[in-house]
Symmetry: C2
Subunit: 429 residues, 2 copies
Amino acid sequence: MRTRPLKVALLGCGVVGSEVARIMTTHAADLAARIGAPVELAGVAVRRPDKVREGIDPALVTTDATALVKRGDIDVVVEVIGGIEPARTLITTAFAHGASVVSANKALIAQDGAALHAAADEHSKDLYYEAAVAGAIPLIRPLRESLAGDKVNRVLGIVNGTTNFILDAMDTTGAGYQEALDEATALGYAEADPTADVEGFDAAAKAAILAGIAFHTRVRLDDVYREGMTEVTAADFASAKEMGCTIKLLAICERAADGGSVTARVHPAMIPLSHPLANVREAYNAVFVESEAAGQLMFYGPGAGGSPTASAVLGDLVAVCRNRIGGATGPGESAYAALPVSPMGDVVTRYHISLDVADKPGVLAQVATVFAEHGVSIDTVRQSGKDGEASLVVVTHRASDAALGGTVEALRKLDTVRGVASIMRVEGE
Amino acid sequence: MRTRPLKVALLGCGVVGSEVARIMTTHAADLAARIGAPVELAGVAVRRPDKVREGIDPALVTTDATALVKRGDIDVVVEVIGGIEPARTLITTAFAHGASVVSANKALIAQDGAALHAAADEHSKDLYYEAAVAGAIPLIRPLRESLAGDKVNRVLGIVNGTTNFILDAMDTTGAGYQEALDEATALGYAEADPTADVEGFDAAAKAAILAGIAFHTRVRLDDVYREGMTEVTAADFASAKEMGCTIKLLAICERAADGGSVTARVHPAMIPLSHPLANVREAYNAVFVESEAAGQLMFYGPGAGGSPTASAVLGDLVAVCRNRIGGATGPGESAYAALPVSPMGDVVTRYHISLDVADKPGVLAQVATVFAEHGVSIDTVRQSGKDGEASLVVVTHRASDAALGGTVEALRKLDTVRGVASIMRVEGE
């Protein structure tokens, strides 16, 4: 074993960073044996230097992250600050000063992954970020390496624990969205400002990263269609139950049937109770991967939290350190396929539409005609009504999102349609 | 991209080998882009050279596998022959003549993994074998690399598709073992001689490999306790249902509570229906991994078959080719922890025991005394009887296998115990 230690700079010492530092200390002998050299925590950049950090030598703590990544003797920079800046500049500075980088920063990788990979390549350094998607669940490495000889056609996953906790609570208790969100906040599963989670921004960043790796194509955050889950109601869950389904916020990355383009999207969707993703409870994450040769694979585990995220960061740290000792770099960005990313209108799926309609003869015929005119084939219709009001639930066969959009627009113009109560995509069949 | 192709020799061209060759041809451009150089099938060693093999140039086919691996211009040898010899000699010969090796051979790796890794190291070559355990499911790479910074405490999995198909059929249809085996054979899920599957030899080889990687310790096939599933009866499934459980053939690798030793075992066990492994149907495989920081992870997918196994082989092939171009080798054997492997008697778990007893007063007291004398604490007892015969079902708290064995031995000596109808371990709680 090499005796000169590899030096690690830690940027950020919050929930994840403090756990990374703790494990580096308590499991130092194991890490050294697995890497082939000791690893040493050489500096910790924080915003509040006076905060007491158990187990971390105060002499290592600095507020000057830039000076830390510029030191020149750092082998690996671990970035667990999050957000775009200063993380982006610190990472590119680290590459320029000889360090490889392990990051848990989904927002940054989703937005600037291509540029960061280019910077890493320019300096022959590694950029690893297993922790950016689905916490401790090995997903980036299996997609990038284990399935490197296969053709991935679909990635379908629950990649946000907060929203899964809320939807699971709504499903289990019959609670409305606000009530379930309040519970999630009280239990620490939702942040004070839950926007990034409940509006799907967090999941969209992960979808962009997963689609890029799965399809060997650059997928920008802007390419990902995004719809949050704040408008999912108890009534939607009741409808889902009638269909033998539940509702999940899904990230879905698909290769078009002709193979010539891809799509990436995040939205709530009904999935059958028989689908393994339907049984993913509380804040757990799970991702289904469908590939040509391997078939259907599923990866399941805790999608967030200090320890699980630290596990993923440390796995990357060991890999990057091994590469460094061996004078090699791991697989970088693979975007050679450069497939076009199609807009949401091109996505083909099934739909569950609830309409409030006038309770009089001929309404169903009118509605059915609108669907037919837009080329959307109806699978089932269920009518119910009382007191002059009626509701119509239509489940379609597979149709493009554009065709469904046109259908709904035309439905809204019908005098007999009082309102479109909900539109929900049906996935996983 | 490098233009000189990497040369691949394929040993074996059966269900897996032919699929590897097919994908190497049909997806040549993708593989080249991902590797950074083209890969060329340079030779295929088979036993029956006259068999027509669609898509394979007959000029590449040879019966002289030894000459093929000795050619000296081969970059990677893909071994999908199976069995100990000639595979073992061919692999070591390949290393000595400059090639790295990708193997799908669980029996060989379980028996001789340490020696083969040593041979690979001696020549600075790679030995990869993702396909040896659980087919297409990425499991070796996640354990070896993604969890390299974590401490794995337990691996609990369904790693044999044939036995899972049989047990699932018994559970679903109420069929007996023989009937379910016949169905599995008719459908091609079981081989004409199913011994390796139903007696747990196949799963034991996988358990040895998984335990070795998970605990950074050499675990030999002989270290794995093995019990087949041929004696599981419809009555056992009925008992399991009463407990809210089903029965699976599990491979279980555990670190002892004090961390100082490990165990590995394969046997049928009851697991609660609420456990994700309980819902793994047909010939699917799934493996639960519990680690200190990551928590509970699960990996699910097809555990066998030509295409899924080929997917795993090709993922390894891409990795080994990349290493070769970069002048590096991937992580080899990691056995530094060198923990003792404890015998089955040291395993601590719960037990479900069915006894046929005389239907007279005092029997339960006698039986309970025997359990107490051996330090095995009883959780629940259920008595039922008619016509002078009675049965007693005892479910214990956690106890060592040795203590349970002593208990059962003593029970058999009681006049009032007519027989021990079944003993089943209870896992996953």
